[in-house]
């Protein structure tokens, strides 16, 4: 019972990482695709402004997810990281390169140095979610176990499709958020720019999700059944409805519901996956109860989560509130200029 609660917490933390951190990866992808240094300058500037104050905080949810996984379900953690050594190693190195490249670019003096670091940031923003996606595909299809296949576990149609889906979803989230941010900052050209990209990425994400689901019919039949006819079906419906709502809201210029609805569309997919896979943490054999740590450990995990809800959630709210009202920007480094008014 307490193990189920901790598993639910794990899903929620993973959701937070996906809808917050995922968009930061997507921002890197749009940076990559923004074109020449001059032509892409406005879009890159917008991406920079939106990501800079929040990406590190968003990123921490990954660490929390890892810690909850290894503390609450140590055996599952060990099996995942042993079987999926290759994709997770690549994802780890991608995480370092992305963050460092982004930080270096912000402080870089010369255009050349900016270009090199920006390129590293952008390419690793693409690779990292792809390899994370392949790892999730391996878990869903029951290929992760004590001595799982180090290559076949993630080099298979479902895993590769899931990797692609992660990339598309990250790009989609980012484009939606950036369109909303552009609108808020009074930049209609950029709003249209990102809206077009949000629509494209949304359609690609939807198509990839459908293909991946069809693939699950043979690669993970029980998960497929739950998603299409069983208890996970409501989550799928919510995701589709939210996704369609975003696609209709954005072109008509109704911006305010776009961000939460896009996040909901993505979150519902994650919840659907978790519900469809229940009670297994690593199908087809390892259950949540079977992998669970002793009760006192689970209690400690829930205590930590409680503190996070009480202390960290308001802090995050403050961070987002300040970021949204334009109170957080890279400052003029010597403070020589007149204080700028917050952009609204």
């Amino acid at each position: 019972m307490i193990a189920d609660i901790v598993a639910a917490v794990l899903v929620l933390v993973a959701t937070a990482y996906a809808v917050l951190g995922g968009a930061d990866f997507g921002g890197g992808m749009w940076d990559l695709l923004a074109g020449s240094a001059t032509g892409g300058a406005a879009a890159r500037h917008r991406i920079n402004l939106s990501i800079t104050p929040v990406w590190e905080s968003n990123h921490v949810w990954l660490v929390i997810a890892l810690v909850v996984l290894w503390t609450g379900f140590p055996v599952a953690f060990a099996d995942i990281f042993t079987t999926l050594f290759v994709p997770l190693s690549v994802a780890g190195l991608g995480i370092v390169l992305r963050g460092s490249g982004f930080a270096y670019r912000a402080q870089a003096g010369s255009v050349r140095w900016q270009a090199v670091n920006g390129g590293i940031f952008a390419i690793s923003s693409l690779l990292t979610p792809f390899f994370m996606g392949t790892a999730v595909g391996a878990v869903v299809t029951g290929r992760v176990r004590a001595s799982g296949d180090p290559a076949g576990s993630w080099v298979n149609p479902t895993s590769l499709l899931t990797g692609g889906l992660f990339v598309a979803v990250a790009a989609y989230l980012a484009a939606v958020y950036l369109a909303v941010d552009s609108d808020r900052a009074g930049e209609p050209d950029l709003r249209r720019y990102f809206t077009r990209r949000a629509l494209a990425a949304g359609i690609v994400s939807g198509a990839l999700a459908a293909v991946t689901m069809a693939e699950l019919r043979t690669s993970a039949p029980s998960v497929f059944t739950e998603l299409t006819q069983g208890r996970a079906l409501p989550a799928v419906i919510v995701s589709v409805l939210a996704g369609v709502a975003v696609l209709t809201a954005l072109p008509t210029g109704v911006m305010w519901p776009a961000r939460p609805l896009a996040a909901l569309a993505v979150a519902a997919v994650i919840w659907g996956w978790a519900i469809a896979q229940y009670p297994y943490i690593l199908p087809p054999r390892l259950t949540i109860a079977g992998a669970a740590a002793p009760a006192a450990t689970m209690g400690a995990v829930l205590f930590v989560v409680g503190v996070i809800v009480v202390l960290v959630a308001p802090s995050f709210a403050l961070l987002y509130w300040l970021a949204q009202r334009g109170s957080l920007r890279e400052a003029d480094e010597d403070g020589a200029g007149p204080p700028r008014r917050p952009a609204r």
Binding site: P74, G99, A293, T297, L311, S315, G335
Partner: protein, 475 residues
């Protein structure tokens, strides 16, 4: 709830001398290089915010333009270091699974607890660092200043929690085992294990010394080159004073720690101090290279009975030697351990001397040491950052290599903890290459920032915010 070796036979593999997994050496090398890189940034994350906050306070309180400018620029430096530190720290948490699934699969439910608590502080730190770094000019001045307080506090508590996990590996407690499974866990006993009380303060003080030394370095260089502006003096004095104040406490804690290790991990202590056989009147070796069962003559000095004296305050104190365990259970390379330990102590003592030097001068003259001695003093100040980094890394070598072949002391061998995945040599190569590039790139970025700042007329000529022009007395 201290648990001994016997209780754990069920968890251990059939033979303690099972041939080690081929991945052990590359896995240790990868962990060592990732951690060795990250820990420098972690120190900056733990202690630099406090130094920035003090500087910012001086700037606001005294309307000191030079202090404001320093705080402002330092927060830019923080932006880079915190970012690289956050991602390299994340990789470490992935490395726990990639390299040590044998540890995490068996003991994740125990060692995970302090890491979970650390997560709280990591989140708080990230959020408030961002608010502080990007809140300049946009938040009310004092409110902006106070957004740094949660960062300083979570730096300390986050460090405590990570070190709690490490100290648990040195002195595991707080859990019971039956049939090879962890059956119950006492989170408080895990967090506050027998090694916590000295490892925690030792690491936090080390962080303050490293951050203070590193922050002071560029300004010491500036002063040496004759740029004696208030900006450079303040930029040197404040962080260096923080490091100097931390030093005597650090030496006291270190002394306590060594004594505790002599009782908790006697074999580690024996290797640190060249104690091959359990005996009384054990000499203390200053330097020395161990080879073929003895210290090579001429490489070190033995102080008769001093080691016994340090361990038990009497030359008759019996010090346990490494002959108490079979060779397979002794740490490798006693020379590396001993010289690392000596180097750490030496640097600590030099920092103490430099701190006293500054204190005396300041007491008598209200000034930095001048003239030729002043040059020597500042040269030492310019080297203090790198020296503190070396001392800290040496200390970690003693802690980690000294615990080998155990990952969890007397409970889990490193060969049992290591992954069975065969790709470690490849990821090791990638890790070393990437971290080498990151080290160079980080230094390059900082150097570029420094160049840019020097180009703006040597620092504090620029009007800083919150200060009227009349108060620009910054030279």
């Amino acid at each position: 709830m201290r648990t001994g070796l016997a209780l754990h036979s069920a968890l251990a593999s059939p033979s303690l001398r099972a041939s080690p997994s081929l991945q052990v050496v590359p896995a240790r090398a990868q962990m060592g290089s990732s951690l060795g890189f990250h820990i420098i940034l972690a120190c900056m994350g733990i202690a630099f915010p406090a130094i920035v906050m003090i500087m910012h306070y001086i700037g606001l309180r005294r309307r000191d333009a030079a202090a404001m400018l320093l705080a402002r620029r330092w927060s830019r430096v923080m932006a880079v270091l915190v970012a690289v530190g956050a991602v390299s720290g994340t990789v470490l948490s992935m490395d726990m699974g990639l390299l040590w699934p044998g540890l995490m699969g068996r003991y994740g439910s125990v060692i995970g607890i302090p890491f979970g608590i650390e997560g709280i502080f990591f989140l708080l730190e990230a959020v408030f660092t961002a608010i502080y770094m990007y809140g300049w000019d946009r938040l009310p001045p004092w409110a902006h200043f106070w957004t740094m307080a949660p960062v300083v506090i979570s730096g300390v508590f986050g460090a405590m929690s990570v070190v709690a996990a490490n100290s648990w590996m040195n002195d595991p407690s707080g859990y019971t085992v039956a049939n090879g499974k962890i059956t119950s866990v006492d989170p408080v006993a895990v967090y506050f294990n027998g090694a916590t009380y000295y490892e925690m303060p030792h690491m936090i003080l080390a962080a303050y010394m490293v951050a203070g030394g590193l922050a002071a370095t560029p300004y010491a260089v500036g002063l040496l080159r004759g740029r004696g502006s208030r900006y450079n003096r303040l930029g040197f004095l404040l962080p260096f004073t923080v490091a100097a104040i931390a030093t005597p406490f650090q030496i006291g804690i270190g002394d306590t720690a060594a004594r505790a290790i002599a009782s908790q991990q006697p074999v580690k202590f024996a290797s640190m101090e060249y104690v091959p056989r359990t005996s009384t009147h054990v000499p203390e070796w200053i330097a020395g290279v161990w080879s073929n069962g003895r210290v090579v003559p001429g490489t070190g000095i033995a102080l008769p009975s001093v080691d016994s004296l340090l361990v038990g305050f009497s030359p008759n104190t019996r010090v346990i030697g490494w002959d108490t365990v079979p060779p397979a259970l002794r740490p490798p390379f006693p020379t590396l351990l001993h010289l690392s330990f000596d180097l750490m102590v030496l640097i600590g003592m030099l920092m103490l001397v430099w701190g006293i030097w500054l204190a005396l001068w300041w007491w008598r003259r209200r000034d930095l040491p001048r003239g030729r001695p002043g040059t020597v003093f500042l040269a030492g100040g310019a080297l203090s950052g790198i020296a503190c980094v070396v001392a800290m890394e040496a200390g970690w070598v003693v802690t980690e290599v000294g615990r080998q072949p155990w990952t969890v002391y007397n409970v889990l061998l490193t060969s049992q903890a290591a992954t069975s995945a065969t790709g470690v040599p490849a990821t090791l190569a990638a890790t070393v290459a990437i971290y080498a590039v990151l080290t160079v790139a980080t230094l390059a970025v900082l150097w570029m920032m420094k160049r840019r700042w020097q180009a703006t007329a040597g620092g504090a000529d620029v009007a800083a915010p919150y200060s009227p022009p009349a108060e620009r007395e910054a030279r």
